[in-house]
């Protein structure tokens, strides 16, 4: 496939030598496929930080990285207006490789071969961004848990909200908001998805509220004529009170004592 300009590439891997290997291989195939490595990052978070400053065409991302892995990175990239193409690299990850094959996602096995890299690059430019739901499923299997961050778009900027800092999620008619000690974020997520993805950390208090179990500080009964809630949950660190439904009252109190 001919290109007017060399393709801009970001290399994401936690091992410096793995990145320099890819650099060498890209230089080797420069005649067949013009590309330019515009940056390197050691994990998904650093990659997103880089992408805030500069657009790239292709991201080569290792699957297993500390902080934020390649699969979660790809999920956040999907929210970009013009998401870069993603090619995953992995040394050995049985589950991920099977899942990629199943979903026709392209990946490179390390040590990477020149020819494979070339075909993957040629294919990547023409491939639509992977389905976020598929990525979420693979990610959960590979890392054995939910994402580490949620993305929030604010005035065209991407903000990352660490899941560990979220005290509760609250659903309004249109949006889900995430509350941290400092502020609130509007998310483009469904409460039911968040509930199943982070079942270990969060529990449902009410039709429209998920709370971090660790953030619960206490409960108080609502007045008899209160139609909004059966009771209220008090939180650590913020003065907010969250409504608790009759159905969730007993399980919520149990979560506090354990």
């Amino acid at each position: 496939m001919p290109h007017d300009k060399p393709l801009k590439i970001l290399l994401v891997d936690d091992e410096p030598l793995a990145r320099s290997r890819l650099r060498e291989l890209l230089a080797d195939i420069a005649v067949q496929f013009a590309s330019e490595v515009v940056g390197e990052a050691g994990n998904g978070l650093a990659a997103l930080e880089f992408l805030r400053q500069q657009r790239v065409d292709v991201v080569l991302a290792d699957i297993r990285m500390p902080g934020m892995d390649g699969i979660e990175l790809a999920g956040h990239l999907g929210a970009f207006e013009q998401p870069p193409a993603v090619i995953f690299t992995t040394a050995y990850d049985n589950y991920a490789v099977q899942a990629f094959d199943l979903n026709a996602l392209d990946y490179l096995l390390k040590p990477v071969r020149t020819q494979r890299l070339l075909t993957a690059l040629q294919k990547a430019v023409a491939t639509p961004h992977p389905d976020p739901a598929v990525l979420a499923g693979i990610g959960r299997e590979v890392r054995g848990g939910g994402r580490t961050h949620l993305s929030c778009h604010e005035r065209g900027r991407l903000l990352l909200v660490p899941v560990a800092e979220v005290l509760y999620f609250k659903a309004d008619t249109k949006y889900v908001t995430a509350r941290t000690v400092d502020r609130e974020y509007l998310l483009d997520e469904a409460l039911t998805h968040l509930e199943s993805e982070f079942a270990e950390r969060f529990m449902r208090l009410h039709r429209a509220v998920l709370v971090a179990k660790a953030a619960l500080a206490g409960f108080e009964k609502a007045a008899g004529d209160d139609v909004e809630a059966y009771g209220w949950a008090l939180l650590r660190g913020v003065p907010d009170k969250l409504p608790v439904s009759r159905r969730q009252w007993a399980p919520a109190k149990a979560a506090l004592t354990c």
């Binding site: 030598l17 290997r21 040394a91 990850d93 848990g145």
Partner: protein, 337 residues
Amino acid sequence: MTSIRHFPATHPLPDWRNFGVMLRVLLGVNLLALAVAFIQSPSVADWAARYVEMAALVEPLLLLVLGLLAGLRNPLRALPLRVGQAGVVALVAGLAYAQNLFWQSLGFGDGGNPWRPAILAAAASMLLLGYFELRARAFSPAQTEARLAALNARIRPHFLFNSLNAVLSLIRARPQQAEAALEALSDLFRAAMRDPGELVSLADEIALGRQYLELEKLRLGERLAVDWQIGAVSMSQPIPPLMLQPLLENAVYHGIEPAPEGGVVRIAIDQRGDELRIAIANPTVDEGRHAAGNQMAVANIRERLALYYDLEARLEIDAGENNYEVRIILPCRTTSR
């Protein structure tokens, strides 16, 4: 290199110096005594009294026999199996006979024929020898070695392919470093494929661990720091192969790789009395899957320790909030057995 072709459980004449064997003999004989006391006593209340009475006769004999057998282990094993077993039975019966005569000479005896305790003791020892022979068959050397081989060769493919990838990237820029890395990798695989029945010296095992960590450092760079604390230990003492490396691999895989800033793997090797203690600690990372993944390598080493040492070695885990430590405690074996 010392060979331990005889794992504690695989010889039909057991290793009388092994703690597990002694424990089994003590328990076995006392269970027999309990059973006999029960048969002889008319009521349950008499049972205990009867057993205590019998124990006064049985325990001194038992301890004496165990002491003698520990001393005679090697000559007994040098004999043909049946002769050796007969020797044990004769020894036990003879001592029981002699003990009875001794008690009688002091005036404590019941006046009975000294052949009676001798025959009872011989019967008990035959039962136990039968048990040890069956047990040895269950742990035949071939099966034990096959089990060990299966347990031994476990270098993570994740590590292999990442290391090869790292070496490939060194070839053009730093060929000498690439050569050294390939040499280390081949040493590691030679060790993983070695005959698992052979013991290695502690020095060799430590050298292998260092090579392994060098390879990991190549991949992880600054993120991996290592702290070796080696006390006054006898470096030539034999230990089972690949005890250290899988635990180091675990420490790196679970404690360093998932941490963006990396961390320190601490290794402490020390000798206390006749115990060799190896402790490996890594920082813990808050990630769900990592706690579960640790169990396999640990269970694997635990099983190997049981095959090599029976009850004489143990593995302890200290899973703190920020720190995960595995300790192996082995009996020191300064000489080959």
